[in-house]
Point group: C2
Chain length 222, copies 2
């Protein structure tokens, strides 16, 4: 037990940086994340912080990766073992709602914020955010498709339309929670989802999707 913190804590230090960085970035944005502030709040020097990553962009990418790990740990893992298709959809969405409800990150969903922040830029950070967003939507999409083919959802379900509406509900949950502090928002999200995912008779008459999406290849809409 050394009086000063051991050097062997390096892994721990890196993780501490990422933990604080993720929390900060979720609230202030990835660009608002500053080496100096990070160092000050961690009680260390700027050089000590940046030394672990080399570049601010690398740090941002590491934060995105940390956010992805947290997301995977909180959402898909919580639905582990749930049968694919409609039950999985319900479980995953509920896990995401619960994740936001518990306020694990001060700024709400990191990827929702990062998507809005980087949607008008270029570069590897934007690519990483888009990749994660696409991954999650692919996950939803393939399970919607499965639910349809298992007859858990109506056969005439427009997969991409349903995907759009599910994502919409999630974006709105983050919006109402973060901007307006609306504590009833999770209940509204659950209700809206329930209405989308209950086996309803049909959509409204008329209007089918322009081009039917090939059910065999539920690729991300990118």
């Amino acid at each position: 037990m050394s009086p000063r913190k051991s050097v062997a804590e390096s892994r721990s230090t890196r993780q501490r940086i990422l933990d604080l960085g993720l929390a900060t970035a979720s609230a202030e944005g990835l660009e608002g994340l500053t080496i100096g502030r990070l160092a000050a709040e961690l009680g260390m020097s700027k050089a000590g912080v940046i030394g672990h990553f080399g570049t601010k962009e690398s740090l941002q990418l590491a934060v995105v990766e940390a956010a992805a790990e947290l997301f995977v740990r909180e959402v898909p893992e919580h639905a582990r073992g749930v049968p694919r298709g409609l039950p999985y959809l319900r479980a995953a969405c509920e896990a995401w709602i619960s994740f936001l409800e518990r306020e694990l990150l001060p700024g709400g969903c990191f990827f929702t914020a990062a998507a809005a922040e980087f949607d008008g830029r270029d570069g590897p950070v934007r690519d990483a955010v888009v990749r994660m967003s696409a991954f999650w939507q692919r996950e939803l999409r393939v399970n919607i498709w499965r639910a349809v083919s298992l007859d858990e959802l109506p056969a005439d379900t427009d997969i991409d339309q349903l995907l759009y509406e599910i994502v919409a509900i999630m974006l709105a949950l983050n919006h109402f929670l973060q901007l307006h502090g609306d504590r009833q928002a999770p209940a509204r999200a659950r209700r809206a989802l329930e209405r989308l995912l209950c086996r309803r008779v049909s959509e409204f008459p008329g209007r089918s999707t322009a081009r039917g999406t090939t059910p065999g290849t539920p690729a991300p809409a990118e």
Copy 2:
């Protein structure tokens, strides 16, 4: 016709700053808006730019105001004369979708981006964004209420729930357009809205709102 630009163009100059500032802020964020960049792209000095506003925060507030004017000009004004209630709801939402579809701003909806950027901060800029968001939602809410009382929507409609879902569709439209460049997103938004606003038989069975919203006072959910 003076060879150099006349000083009397000051109003025009201020407007030019705001126009460029609004376009930039919609894509890069209000915080990414920089006096120096703004000055360089306008071919003038930093002092010349900031002189019109005094402070960066004042400039940000002026940009928010300019965004609000653009929004009002594009959305509520486009629904002028349309009967309150369901027709107004349809017209206003369509105006908003069309506004995004025409890409008047390079970064999509300014307020959607600003809401995500400032939802974790304090200060007058955040307040201004929240105020505008609340105004728009109040506008929607009062017309939902009107539509219900005119029997254009089912009597058991949960007003705040419907408001939540409408806002969700709009947030998602901006998301899919900006992050994924999904050109089918406007069609999906229209379809989702149409399904929400068509006089459907009922919600799904069970589950009514915890506390019935007093129909006489459609206050914003803040």
